[in-house]
């Protein structure tokens, strides 16, 4: 990353989220090389939110540690993409949370999914004489509590 005047860097670091977003929008529109430093600062703030939201949401969705870390990396890259747009963006922690949730909720190959019914129709045969046996009390319907 290009190096800038330390005083200017400090001034950028001291800006609040809304001010920093305004500077980002200005520098990206002007193709100002300071955009990179502004973006870096914004991302570091967003990354903290991404990390926490991915972890909380990922654990609730049954993702493993490795998947959560991959979701964090994915969300960080997507936040960079989003912040390269010319249009003004929401506050960075809101944006980061939105992206983090989307990254956790995408399809994960190893994610535990709910059991699904077989697509094949089961082949069932009625035992000959069973209905009569039940009626006469020779056989009783299965009771899961007693069996």
């Amino acid at each position: 990353m290009a190096e800038f005047d330390p005083i200017e860097e400090k001034a950028v670091e001291m800006l609040d989220d809304a001010q920093l977003e305004a500077v980002r929008a200005d520098t990206v529109a002007a193709n100002d090389e300071r955009f990179e430093f502004v973006l870096w600062n914004l991302c570091l703030r967003g990354v903290a939110v991404i990390e926490r939201v991915c972890r909380t949401r990922g654990e609730a969705c049954g993702l493993g540690e490795q998947e959560i870390e991959l979701a964090i990396e994915d969300a960080s890259a997507r936040m960079l993409l989003r912040l390269s747009r010319l249009e003004p963006q929401p506050q960075v922690h809101v944006l980061a949370a939105e992206i983090a949730v989307a990254c956790v909720e995408r399809a994960w190959p190893l994610q535990k999914s709910a059991p699904r019914l077989s697509a094949r129709t089961p082949q069932l045969r009625l035992i000959k004489g069973l209905d009569e046996a039940i009626e006469t009390g020779k056989a009783r319907p299965n009771d899961w509590e007693n069996s």
């Binding site: 990353m1 290009a2 670091e13 001291m14 800006l15 609040d16 989220d17 990206v28 193709n31 100002d32 090389e33 955009f35 990179e36 973006l39 870096w40 991302c43 570091l44 703030r45 990354v47 903290a48 939110v49 991404i50 990390e51 926490r52 939201v53 991915c54 972890r55 909380t56 949401r57 609730a60 969705c61 959560i68 870390e69 991959l70 979701a71 964090i72 990396e73 994915d74 969300a75 960080s76 890259a77 997507r78 960079l80 993409l81 989003r82 390269s84 747009r85 010319l86 929401p90 506050q91 960075v92 922690h93 809101v94 949370a97 939105e98 949730v101 995408r106 190959p109």
Partner: protein, 214 residues
């Protein structure tokens, strides 16, 4: 509606309210979910609603997840060049999602109906050059960027914005594989054994080097 759906809905509601500048007290969102889900939602909302000042909290900086995320940001910005941050973000998303470069090339080949071996080789070569920052963002075609956006499930406008060259990026020149060097000799007529350019290779050249409208 399941408890997980309720958490999700409440979280999105809070996000929308924040965007609109009309966020409510945290309790009003917690009331929207069953009591067993309130702790999870509470943690998520605390992250979302906490006012964030200039500095990053020290606890955030200590976790492995934070370090990995910060490393992605560093790598992407460090590789910013003639195609902006697009090369770095493509590589980072691909790695995070476990997508092999060949799979991206396959999808591109399907999108642009490139079936021949030469065309696919050209696609693989140019995609590799794109991901390693060796191409000019200004020469990438809109339809290529649109296809990449679909492959990575992101907004095409974001991909286009990310491909804008850095202000002082390395001055690369677009060098289509089909181009011939301007030598001192006058061009000689093609020999009968010389083949015509493969139309699929030409298509790939246009996609990666032909400019936005190619």
């Amino acid at each position: 509606m399941s408890a997980e759906d309720a958490v999700e809905r409440a979280f999105w509601q809070a996000l929308e309210d924040l965007k609109a500048g009309s966020e409510k007290p945290i309790e009003s969102y917690l009331r929207l979910v069953p009591s067993g889900q309130r702790e999870e939602l509470g943690r998520m909302l605390a992250d979302l609603l906490a006012a964030r000042g200039p500095a990053v909290g020290p606890s955030a900086g200590e976790s492995e997840g934070y370090r990995r995320a910060a490393a992605v940001v560093d790598e992407v910005l460090g590789a910013r060049g003639a195609a902006g941050i697009l090369p770095g973000t493509l590589k980072a998303m691909r790695n995070a999602r476990g997508i092999e470069p060949d799979a991206v090339v396959e999808r591109l080949a399907a999108d642009f109906d490139v079936r021949g071996e030469e065309g696919r080789r050209a696609l693989a070569r140019d995609y590799h050059r794109l991901e390693t920052g060796k191409l000019l963002g200004s020469k990438l075609s809109r339809r290529l960027l649109g296809s990449l956006a679909a492959i990575f499930d992101v907004d095409p406008d974001e991909v286009r914005a990310a491909a804008r060259p850095a202000a002082k990026g390395p001055s690369l020149s677009s060098a289509p594989a089909m181009g011939r060097g301007a030598g001192a000799r006058a061009p000689s007529p093609p020999s009968p054994s010389e083949r015509l350019p493969d139309p699929e290779v030409e298509l790939v050249e246009r996609l990666f080097h032909g400019g936005p409208d190619a």
